[in-house]
């Protein structure tokens, strides 16, 4: 009897959540397709936000009538990927959100499946990375940092995200271009941006590498000094050189994109590419990107496939140098 009460309570909770959700789904244009969005990560993270923003913009642009979002989280996406490949094979109107992190995770986890097995639709956004130091650090410029790194890499502990992730990869690339052996680096991985930030603010480490958005507010407040960014060109409103300008020949975007399942027909693929292209050119998408510090770096279809091959090769090489692959 009290189990029933508990049951009622949980349905009430689910009901309340459902109520809010249905309230948020007003009626949409007739005839537009219903799509499935597969997010190989838990709700709340970067891929999930990308998936939910895609859903939001596609609906407000009346490109779809609605969507169903499925989250299968774990291990940088390598738990979700095999499921997407086996269970969603050949289904049109189905998109998986993934990105550079998954490329790294597939290599590092020696995953049985990889991204060549799914159908690339579009690269949507990227986040360039920032090299920062605490405000009272002796490093004033990126050149100071590189000089110290060359002198003795073990004395320059650098904080960032998880081992083998985009931050670690960028640190490896920097070391490689300036001629420091990757195996000597002192990289201090943290599980989340917050922890890495606090290590920087508490002067526990010499420098930090992470997505620009993680550091932007601290830079604005003067708690951190920005030495360089990994973007291809200078960014409006950011007072720092690119890595290239600072003499480190590296460019890196932590990119995110969408994929269709394996075995979709050419017509289905073309329809999805058109839909995503239309979405990416809308004002609503531009606004979302601006709010979330995402740089739009649209690349579709075959160009995307080509980019994917090159990036995978680059990441594989650097992870080998770092001893992770």
């Amino acid at each position: 009897m009290l189990n029933r009460r508990r049951f009622l309570m949980s349905t009430a909770a689910a009901g309340a959540a459902g109520l809010v959700a249905s309230h948020l789904s007003p009626a949409f244009a007739e005839g537009a397709p219903q799509i499935q969005i597969f997010v190989p990560a838990a709700p709340g993270g970067g891929w999930d936000q990308t998936g939910r923003t895609i859903d939001q913009v596609l609906r407000s642009e009346k490109l779809i009538s609605g969507s169903q979002i499925t989250n299968v989280g774990g291990a940088g996406g390598t738990v979700g990927l095999p499921q997407f490949i086996s269970q969603w094979n050949g289904k049109g109107n189905t998109l998986m959100v993934a990105g550079m992190v998954m490329v790294g995770a597939i290599i590092a986890n020696k995953s049985a499946n990889n991204l060549t097995e799914v159908t690339p639709i579009a690269r949507l956004t990227g986040e360039f990375e920032a090299l920062v130091v605490p405000a009272d650090s002796p490093f004033k410029t990126a050149a100071d940092f590189v000089a110290a790194l060359k002198a003795d890499p073990t004395k320059v502990p650098v904080a960032g995200g998880s081992a083998g992730g985009s931050d670690h990869i960028l640190f490896g690339l920097i070391a490689k271009t300036v001629g420091v052996p990757a195996t000597n680096l002192s990289y201090v991985p943290f599980a989340g941006g917050g922890e890495a930030l606090s290590a920087l603010l508490g002067n526990q480490v010499a420098a930090g590498i992470s997505g620009f958005g993680e550091f932007s507010e601290q830079i604005k407040a003067g708690a951190l000094r920005l030495l360089a960014i990994s973007a291809d060109k200078r960014q409006d409103g950011i007072d720092a050189p690119t890595m290239r300008e600072a003499g480190i020949d590296v460019e890196l975007f932590n990119w995110r994109g969408v994929f269709a399942p394996p075995g979709v027909s050419d017509a289905d693929k073309a329809a999805m590419v058109t839909m995503i292209e239309t979405m990416a050119k809308s004002d609503a998408w531009a606004t979302e990107c601006k709010n979330r510090n995402w740089t739009p770096i649209l690349l579709t279809g075959d160009d995307y496939a080509k980019f994917l091959t090159e990036d995978t090769a680059r990441i594989t090489a650097i992870l080998k140098d770092l001893g992770l692959a």
């Binding site: 809010v20 738990v79 590092a108 986890n109 599980a191 601290q218």
Partner: protein, 507 residues
């Protein structure tokens, strides 16, 4: 006094009927998800993120804060009544709370946890309002070396739950280390003990382990003893709420719990579990009723940890609101909600978004009041749960544990782990090994390892960081006193009393 003005303004934001409605909705929803194992506040808020497209920022943050605080209240209910912790921060509550529930004091355990949560939550929220800038400075002084020393201090808490035999207790602890090590190693990115299974790369969820060892193990044990007639549950003995004596035994643990929980919660890598362990160990040490620990259940062992976990929940908001640092999964998701409004959470948040922040803090005070009003009358209802005949009750617990576990990540592998650990829990119970050290090992082992290796990476292999940093040395000294102090004391006592007999020729 400027703070009081801001706070008053915050209350004027939070006290509008619409915002009160959001607060009530949030606290109710939070209590419900806290009760369910698996559904945590982080996941719930993530699923409700689309609401940010529709309502004003104040409203959605008041809703989210209500869910966050509510979950902390709700999590203790199932820990106490069913030995099935809903949140990792309420695992310790199950130790004494469930003993109390079995001996007819479930109502008192629930009451002390609700009122303790209120007291500590209010103290913690006051800390957020008045002490945030000071506390955050202290919290940032904690580097990997200090965290490692804090873990060492936390390890002495294991001695409080070892049970009758240290060898058995330590065996359990080391089993916990091994389970905690499963998954990708954060420092090197290499998988450990995953046997090629993708699902194990993220490790074993500590909630699943606690539910498996405590609830499933217990159920299997009860089933095996069905006709032995032992371990009968007494639904209610004496008054439903706390007696005067129980009030007297609760208030100090509440205050101590709040004092431990708030600063540790404010530390970027502090978390909610460590303060509950520390509080439990301290209460056991200070209690005048040590014989009740692990037998009929000691109320101090519920009051302290419950207060600690609510105060730490408030502490987590300190780095989030003052620096924009997300230090827990829930805080990270709340920060991403800021971003959907185009608000960049950071050190300037308090100046640029004063209305929002003070409205949020005011609504936390209100949420605390609503929660205690909501939870106290429910106690009478919850306690009746124990009147269900044992076979049905335990069957219900099993269903509840299974559904909750599946809810965490919809992974069938998790169910396999749940039942394997359930079987292990049964065997441990049967052969008299304590299960709590397994959980402590699972939580503290990997944390201590990570912080130790980080400290060594940063210092380039120089061990001296642990004793040249003042904070670290202080913590290690405290740990040493905690561990060796009682033995040294006993030795001195022994010498003083028996000394003369051992010295020939004297006297």
């Amino acid at each position: 006094m400027e703070t009081l003005g801001h706070l008053a303004h915050g209350f004027s934001v939070a006290f509008t009927p619409v915002n009160l409605m959001w607060c009530l909705l949030g606290t109710t929803l939070g209590t419900a998800i806290g009760v369910l194992p698996g559904l945590g506040p982080a996941l719930t808020i993530a699923l409700l993120l689309p609401i940010t497209y529709q309502v004003a920022p104040e409203a959605s943050f008041i809703l989210f804060a209500g869910i966050y605080y509510g979950a902390m209240y709700g999590g203790s209910t199932t820990s106490i009544l069913l030995n099935t912790p809903g949140e990792s921060a309420t695992i310790v509550t199950a130790l004494e709370g469930n003993r109390m529930a079995r001996s007819g004091r479930g109502g008192a355990a629930l009451a002390t946890s609700a009122i303790g949560s209120f007291v500590a939550g209010t103290i913690g929220t006051m800390g957020v309002a008045f002490l945030a800038p000071v506390v955050v400075k202290f919290a940032l002084a904690f580097g990997p070396a200090e965290y490692f020393s804090l873990m060492v201090l936390a390890f002495i808490t294991v001695s409080a739950v070892l049970g009758s035999s240290s060898v058995r207790g330590l065996t359990s602890l080391f089993a916990g280390f091994v389970i905690g090590m499963i998954g990708v190693d954060l420092q090197t990115g290499q998988p450990r003990f995953t046997f090629g299974t993708n699902e194990l790369l993220d490790g074993v969820d500590v909630i699943i382990a606690a539910v498996g060892l405590f609830a499933v193990g217990e159920t299997l044990y009860m089933a095996s003893r069905r006709y032995a007639g032992k371990d009968e549950i007494v639904p209610l003995k004496g008054s439903l709420y706390m007696t005067a004596a129980e009030w007297g035994r609760s208030w100090k643990p509440w205050l101590r719990g709040a004092a431990i929980g708030f600063p540790i919660g404010a530390m970027p890598a502090g978390g909610a579990e460590i303060p509950t362990f520390l509080s439990y160990a301290i209460e056991k040490k200070l209690s005048k009723h040590k014989e009740e620990f692990g037998t009929v259940g000691a109320i101090e062992g519920v009051a302290g940890p419950e207060a600690a976990n609510n105060a730490s929940a408030a502490g987590v908001l300190v780095p989030m609101l003052t620096l924009g640092l997300p230090t827990s999964a829930t805080a990270a998701i709340m920060l991403s909600a800021f971003q959907s409004y185009g608000i960049n959470p950071g050190p300037l948040l308090l100046t640029t978004q004063g209305d929002l922040v003070w409205g949020l803090i005011a609504s936390l005070f209100i949420a605390n009041v609503i929660l205690v009003i909501l939870n106290l009358p429910l106690i009478g209802l919850w306690v009746r749960l124990l009147k269900i005949p044992a076979p049905q009750l335990y069957a219900g617990i099993l269903v509840f544990a299974t559904v909750g576990t599946y809810g965490i990540s919809q992974s069938p592998i998790d169910l396999v782990i749940l039942y394997l650990l359930g079987a292990a829990g049964f065997l441990m119970r049967r052969f008299d090994f304590p299960t709590a050290p397994v959980i402590i090992g699972m939580i503290l082992g990997p944390l201590a390892e990570t912080q130790f290796r980080r400290a060594m990476t940063i210092s380039n292999g120089d061990w001296s960081v642990f004793y040249t940093h003042k904070l670290s040395l202080t913590l290690l000294t405290l740990a040493f006193i905690g561990l060796a102090g009682p033995h040294i004391w006993a030795f001195i006592e022994h010498r003083r009393r028996r000394g003369p007999e051992h010295v020939p020729g004297d006297a």
